[in-house]
Symmetry: none
Subunit: 205 residues, 4 copies
Amino acid sequence: MVDGGDPANSAPRTGGRVRSSAARDEVLNATMALLEEQGYGKITMEGVAARSGVAKSTIYRWWKSKALLVMEAQSEAVARRMPEPDTGSVAEDLTIFASELNRVVEFPQRMEALRGMMADAQLYPDFAGALRDWVQTRRAVVSAILSRGVERGELDADLDVEYATDLIFGPFWYRLLVGHAPLRPDLAGAEIARLLAGFRHPAAD
Amino acid sequence: MVDGGDPANSAPRTGGRVRSSAARDEVLNATMALLEEQGYGKITMEGVAARSGVAKSTIYRWWKSKALLVMEAQSEAVARRMPEPDTGSVAEDLTIFASELNRVVEFPQRMEALRGMMADAQLYPDFAGALRDWVQTRRAVVSAILSRGVERGELDADLDVEYATDLIFGPFWYRLLVGHAPLRPDLAGAEIARLLAGFRHPAAD
Amino acid sequence: MVDGGDPANSAPRTGGRVRSSAARDEVLNATMALLEEQGYGKITMEGVAARSGVAKSTIYRWWKSKALLVMEAQSEAVARRMPEPDTGSVAEDLTIFASELNRVVEFPQRMEALRGMMADAQLYPDFAGALRDWVQTRRAVVSAILSRGVERGELDADLDVEYATDLIFGPFWYRLLVGHAPLRPDLAGAEIARLLAGFRHPAAD
Amino acid sequence: MVDGGDPANSAPRTGGRVRSSAARDEVLNATMALLEEQGYGKITMEGVAARSGVAKSTIYRWWKSKALLVMEAQSEAVARRMPEPDTGSVAEDLTIFASELNRVVEFPQRMEALRGMMADAQLYPDFAGALRDWVQTRRAVVSAILSRGVERGELDADLDVEYATDLIFGPFWYRLLVGHAPLRPDLAGAEIARLLAGFRHPAAD
DNA sequence: ACATAACCGAGACGGTACGTCAGGTCTTGAC
DNA sequence: GTCAAGACCTGACGTACCGTCTCGGTTATGT
């Protein structure tokens, strides 16, 4: 949850009209609808306002930028889709995770959202931190899997877990963003197997 | 070279005033200057026009978008910086390449350019193809190194060269874009060594 | 009053920031100033925006074109200068009116405005109607004078009032636009007298 | 004839390629075609160049502005349509002339041209003189008719011939430009008769 | 016959202004 | 205190034509 997520937290409230949860829902729904229909690049705050029937000033009150708005609109769905497998086998855990990761290809509007959010993180420094925080929560899952593997002796004790985590997410984002090759949930297992071969043996020279 | 790059190619010239190479140079210089001073996100076509003294309409005549303009402004410098090592050793070749790749960290405005171009590729479909083409030229270098390694028997014959190439570039871009960890030219050798351990042996299960 | 003239009319207002009368005044003043200093032909929406300190989009919100803007800027002053004499004598009424009409020659920027508006009416069909409406309000004054003359028996009952009105305004505009002869407020009486001689007697053959 | 009209006059010519009459004709034809199809306001030098297949620079060599171009494109046709009646009767002469004048209503593109030229005369001082000169040639015809009438004693010796001429042309242009009433060739006779009633008798007061 | 000179096409160039879009802020009155 | 409405300033967009300026190439002379 990034901002304005929960209408019943923050300051101690001293009186006055309460935040309209209807307005919040309308905004998030309109955002998802526009994301699906026109893509991230064509979403505008003005468009969301018009579509949702919520005033622009109200939207700005709760979300500082388009990127934060999309992030929240996405977050629940994405959160639900982030498995934290712990089967006792690194290979199995990673395969489950990577398959699920690549399965985003089946939800075009989520791909759109990921690509657009990554774009905005480059263009608006304010948002970069928010995206980084969100990315870290996902990295943590993989790092945990790998650490458990090291502890259990499945993986080389010298393994750089952070870099290994990048080897899981890096190619995913790279393909997602460049589009030179499709994401293949079905091949995740084979790719993980190849990677693990390297993680098991100490690096040569 | 992306567009309007070479004033002396394309159509056979049947008449008409010749393209001003001075104007071209002024525009590219102004673009690089603005990139360095203010960052990709603050570059505007209008700003480039003002800075370069070249009319906006002339800029639009040769470059359809900011992203294509930056890409060309970058391309020569980057091209010069893209080594194509062929030492006879995959490990050595890849280490040279990856070190150089990560060395972009020493040139902040080039990092800015790479990040901005990747962002625009997400937001403007017209540009995505151009970026993809450019990316392919860089992938080709790594693919060639790996293919030579397979031929020479240094690497497993079953190696998926395209995916292996993604394992070189993916983490690079991922770190560049997310910023969760720094790029480390000095560690490139160790990371490559770890990767190659996996490429040498057939995948396990 | 042509458009956006009165900030307190139109829709019943259900909310929203109220129109800034300061902005409106600044725009109209800037328009008149530019008209006087540089002439109608050199007025631009951008120039008015710069001069007035009001945003271009705000100007476009209230006036669709330069011509409508000038028309409104002029209208109050002109309205004040449009007498509706009713002395009981057609000759006297018309002489008063025609003298005043030709007196525009003493206000060069108003001449400029009239000429420019007539020009734009030719070039932009959207504006032609607006100008025609405005012209009709002025014609109505003369038509009324003539009609009263017919009723009183001062003028021939067969007189075509509309055409007679054109005989008042036609030469005025013709001289104003072509510039082959000056406008002469002092000669208006003599010209009217000549005209009336024809209006009193039925047409010959 | 305004400019570049006759390809065989001006400087004594000592050699060099001769002006292409084909190019001249193409330009004039294209101008008339665009005038008819899209109206004066949408004619552009660039459009004429594209339509005619003649280079923009060639057009500018021979015609300094759109207005001069249209004037020449029109001039031959209009010249042919300008009668100089001399029947011995002022009423008859003027009726012939005025009927023909109003007959322009049957040729929409000529109306367009007249309206557009008058507009440009307001906006571009350089052109105002050219239009005025052309207008004078037409006024001269009417003035001559009236002067003959005065000499023959048909009209009052005190008649201001110039103003009387304005009474013929003024209402014509006024209606043409404002569009509040149609031009009526068939009513020209009646209107002239009414006017002449005033011209015959000395002005009253 | 051949140099001279003016013409012509093509099209790039520096400009100016256009009219539009979206951003983000502010003001108002209703709830 | 929040909300819908909507006016406001700001900045940049991408386009259209303007009138000028090279270019390369084409014709008529006139010596």
